[in-house]
């Protein structure tokens, strides 16, 4: 484990929050894409 000194909270907090936000964005993007693809496939099969 590398030494972060007295600013460990700040550094880890910044990385944690940013990665959480990016992760949320990626998850939302993929989920919306999967939903759109599924809906479209169902529609094309039916119609």
């Amino acid at each position: 484990m590398i030494e972060l000194g007295k600013y460990a909270g700040a550094v880890l907090g910044a990385y944690g929050l940013s990665l959480a936000l990016l992760g949320g964005l990626i998850w939302q993007t993929l989920a919306a894409n999967a939903r759109a693809r599924r809906d479209l496939e169902r529609q094309e099969k039916h119609g």
Partner: protein, 241 residues
């Protein structure tokens, strides 16, 4: 071969589907390596370990501005050439830009707390980022409020043009209003001001990684929008018959 060919959604879907895996792989490699490398850099003698935040802060801030510029260009292309994919790309880019702005603001606040002794300072750079976030929120709100997709694309396009002018104006107005604590550009070309190579190379890598990350998210989101549009068109046709 010109970009106008990609006005055809089918062609856009085929090409973007083919390059998407490469872009995603590049984004993952660059971002993960860059951030890990950045995290393992030695401490700065003045800033201690907080210098590691730069590898998130600078690329996110850079992308926040670049994404708005990309939206401006895409809106112009839509307004002038009625290029449908372009309008959808502008729509798809806005949430990514907003998240990048929020990351820039949060990492800035977390960094400013130990360095300047305050979470928030009404500094020109910070303030203009807050204003940029307001513009992103307004833009997205307008997209979701207008029902007819073409009208929504037109209105948000006009808003993006006016908003760009005012975002720029606000940026210079806040300099007039308050002088800041924020240091100047981190990557200036004058050699005396430059940060040392230990930090510079991982920073370049994360900047590239964030750029590719934006590109891959943008492609996926645009594809989602095209599929949604096609679904709506199919459903409308079914209703009529």
């Amino acid at each position: 071969m010109s970009i106008w060919e990609y006005a055809n959604p089918v062609k856009f879907m085929r090409t973007s589907g083919a390059i998407l895996p490469w872009v995603v792989a590049g984004a993952a490699v660059c971002t993960v390596t860059g951030l890990t490398w950045g995290f393992l850099t030695p401490e700065d003698y003045r800033q201690g370990s907080t210098v590691k935040i730069v590898f998130l802060h600078v690329p996110a801030a850079m992308m926040a501005i670049n994404i708005w510029v990309m939206m401006l260009v895409a809106s112009l292309i839509w307004l002038i050439r009625r290029h449908h994919v372009s309008a959808l790309a502008a729509k798809a880019a806005a949430p990514i830009g907003a998240v990048m702005t929020v990351i820039g603001l949060i990492t800035g606040a977390v960094w400013g707390q130990p360095m300047w002794g305050t979470w928030w300072e009404w500094d020109p750079r910070l303030t203009s980022f807050l204003i940029l976030l307001l513009f992103y929120i307004g833009y997205m709100a307008l997209w979701s409020a207008v029902e007819d997709p073409d009208s929504a694309a037109d209105l948000t396009g006009v808003l993006c043009l006016v908003g760009s002018v005012f975002a720029l104006l606000s940026r210079y107005a806040v300099f007039f209003w308050n002088q800041g604590l924020h240091q100047g550009a981190s990557l200036s070309v004058q050699s005396g001001e430059r940060m040392s190579a230990v930090y510079r190379y991982p920073l370049y890598l994360t900047m590239l990684g964030f750029g590719l990350l934006f590109l891959s998210l943008l492609l996926i989101r645009t594809r989602t929008e095209i599929r949604k549009r096609r679904l709506a068109a199919l459903q409308a046709r079914e209703m009529r018959t």
